[in-house]
Symmetry: C2
Subunit: 571 residues, 2 copies
Amino acid sequence: MSKFCIKIIIVIFSLLILFTGAVFASNTDKNPSMTHHMMLLVIQLGIIIFAAKFGGIIFDKFLKMPAVLGELFAGILIGPYLLGSIALPGFSHGLFEMAGSFPISTELYGIATVASIILLFLAGLETDFAMFLRFSFAGSLIGIGGVVFSFVTGDLVAVFLSNLISDKPIGFMHPIALFLGTISTATSVGITARILSEKRKMDSPEGVSILAGAVIDDVIGIILLAIVLGISSALTGSGGSHNLDWSKIALIAGKAVGFWLIATVLGLIFAKKIAAFLKKFSHGVMASIALGFALLLAGLSEMAGLAMIIGAYIMGLSLSKTDIAHVIQEKLSPLYHFFVPVFFTVMGMMVDFSAFSSTNIILFGLIYSVTAVISKMLGSSLPALFMGFNLRGAIRVGIGMVPRGEVALIVAGIALSAGLIPPSIFSIAIMMTMITTLFAPPALVWAFKSDKRGTKKEVSTKGEEIEVLEMEFRNIQTTNMLMESLLSSFKEEEFFVHMIDINCRLYAILKDDISVSLRHYPTKVLIECNNKDLQYIKFIFAESILELVEIINEIKDSSDLKQKPKDLFSI
Amino acid sequence: MSKFCIKIIIVIFSLLILFTGAVFASNTDKNPSMTHHMMLLVIQLGIIIFAAKFGGIIFDKFLKMPAVLGELFAGILIGPYLLGSIALPGFSHGLFEMAGSFPISTELYGIATVASIILLFLAGLETDFAMFLRFSFAGSLIGIGGVVFSFVTGDLVAVFLSNLISDKPIGFMHPIALFLGTISTATSVGITARILSEKRKMDSPEGVSILAGAVIDDVIGIILLAIVLGISSALTGSGGSHNLDWSKIALIAGKAVGFWLIATVLGLIFAKKIAAFLKKFSHGVMASIALGFALLLAGLSEMAGLAMIIGAYIMGLSLSKTDIAHVIQEKLSPLYHFFVPVFFTVMGMMVDFSAFSSTNIILFGLIYSVTAVISKMLGSSLPALFMGFNLRGAIRVGIGMVPRGEVALIVAGIALSAGLIPPSIFSIAIMMTMITTLFAPPALVWAFKSDKRGTKKEVSTKGEEIEVLEMEFRNIQTTNMLMESLLSSFKEEEFFVHMIDINCRLYAILKDDISVSLRHYPTKVLIECNNKDLQYIKFIFAESILELVEIINEIKDSSDLKQKPKDLFSI
């Protein structure tokens, strides 16, 4: 015990010396500009990593809510509008002081920007657009319906309630209205996918349609961002008159869509060449250079008046059809895990908490959020009703499409940093993202409580019976080896393998009318499929296991290992 | 062929539209500040990744020279002092324009700073200082000798040749002289280790002493940086009089060493607690939080008037003795591979090429570089002569200690960004780093040409006979599994396992007077050890293989896999 006491005394004493020394030294620094900037960046980044991880863990493990909410909340808490501006010894303006009118420093925003590019590049890489279109016509209509409804209503909320957020009336084509519409469009399917997977409903007709809908959703949302950015900068360019004739708007929209098409066509034409070129390098270098391409195309698309994430997404989309997509995904996933929580926390830090002291802003935020929930549900449910779903099924699809996520945050961040929306509107966008993300999980659980089918026709009942294959393994390595063998078996059988959620390793595996979902736990593999496909999937599964056994046999029986210990001593 | 022509036409046409659109759009941007900054950062980062990877590959694969030189050269080429300032459409000041008097933007320098922290954190994590000290008294003396000689001569070059670089005479305690001394101290052992490993000389007495010397070297070099920073800021604080009495210098040095000791003691006291705390999380989260700690301690040490890398290094050193060191290393290695080449290229970009138009600067740089080579050789060789090496052995040790690397660059970057040295001196530091790095490989090959022993006593001849165990395996997975089993076997036998080079997966494995080196190729494991230890090492190797066979047997024979295909169809 006395040893412990001495330790404690040493620690307290040392901390005191360190701290007084630190404060003293920081006051006498004579050439502070660059060094001080860097010190601030490094301390901020350290604190952000802590905040992001703890926020994420508290929400995920203890509150059983999506980790992204915890990361956002942590950011709000430590940001310049709350704790960040409290003066500390050595930081007279707080740890996270405002950088002029912008809530965070350019260095920190730079890291968040790189994060958003990695995010959208990987999102594009996961998306085989053509395959998805062919696979799900229903999904496309559901996605388009959701986008149109939520864009229009999001915009109209700003128009009708403009007195709550502005002194002047806001028209439909006002940048604030346009951005509130755009922010409301893109569904973030990760949370829905995780819950469907837990409820074993990933491969229900509802699940498949939601996944397909969310893909279309992303693409349209990003094109919409391009158009809205064009219109907004044309409007601010015309002296803020907020009057543009429709021919001019059509021209801008045409230009944005044209850029999108040209870049995508170029991407697809070059994809094979780029892939062939990248294959000359080791996997790590390949992934780095691919990221280099994504960064360059992102910069070019910004130069062309589109947003950077559009270029990053198109680069990902272009490479998604090549056989190196999986390798790039895997090699960049550690960067994703480092950058993306930082991104969400930085977005949270940009929330102007003081905005919520105005009841007008809170009221507007609540109405906007509720509208975002209802409009997405309506917009996605209505087409679903015409695509073979009954009311129950349509509601399930609608709820699944409600959560907004990273794309909404990125779009809001772009608009804020370009000065097209004020901080209060940015804060409302984050509020909406959080509310829709909070709404979806319990609502989905409720909607899938009944086991009754969600489709109209009796015929599809057979397909609706989901079978679950679950296999436990002894150790992580065997499981990893099996997963690799399994994914390549599916690809050999010409299935389309799509990683939906990078955090919980969830895959959608599709071919013609067969839809399988696969979840990779540390020592468990879980497959869900329709009853009708069970024998086929079992066959592929068994084949993969036998393949693995064969490999292991080969290793074991060959002179490779067995002989080696003898070799060692017979030399 | 006509299809190909159409493709080409589409591509050219599209590129033209994209490009003119891009240039046009970028000229009409009305709210450029933040958005423009971010666009520039993203494009710059993309180009830096390309430059770093291609520079590295060209030097490594084609010129058979260290990749780091290629990364530096690529940086010099694309930097603001050469190609970077050429005006391009949309970039009237070039892609990499000067940020005021500093060659690169704060956002880019921020990314380089984070890279330097990751680098030194991992360097600390690889270093089990106490073990190394106990292991090699010779190594400590060799390291200290090299540091003292190269610091003093590096400083004196500035004093005696001050007329070449300055209008005013430079004293021994002038910041420029002190930094030229400090930059010259820290050996970068990666290149030497790679060549020794290729020549099968890692476990020669020379090899072991070089490795130990380089560890001591790093530690002293970083303490020296702390002292020099303290003196420099005190000097600039005293109105540039450049007069400090020795009692004041002793005080500053005492403070710097004191901080170092206190932080290290605190680190060691808390290490187990931090490790126990970190173990509560998954491996990925654990590594992120550990990096968060490193960033925070880095920021605190900057506040205390020490450099950031000192805090990062101490954090690594503290955790190096815990059992999670290996996990953190492994999880952060993708971040290392992304950030570190960017760091080297950014350092290259900061080289003021115009400085070399002055013959004075070139002359000074050459003399400084040659002095750096000779002083390190002398400083390390002399103690070696007293530690049982003959002249041949001492020269080998001296040459092995010559290359300078990342620590020299980081120190130079710190001094430049704090305004303590002018750009021309920074450029000279890079020149010295490159020349010493170029010098070592051929010189080492020459020094080890003769197979004669490098030690005085006949007794050690037996130890000098290096035995090589080489094992090929069928696939990467088996090799990885064996490596894991092998490393844990060595650790169980109470060996100290030290990863020397992250790029070529080179390990030094030490216990008492046994020294083993291990190199992990994709499908090959190569072990070198002394003749006298061969049987023991063979035993450990065989044990690991048998362990692996057992694991594989277990997997194979257990119901785990064999039964599974049957299970699938018997349900």
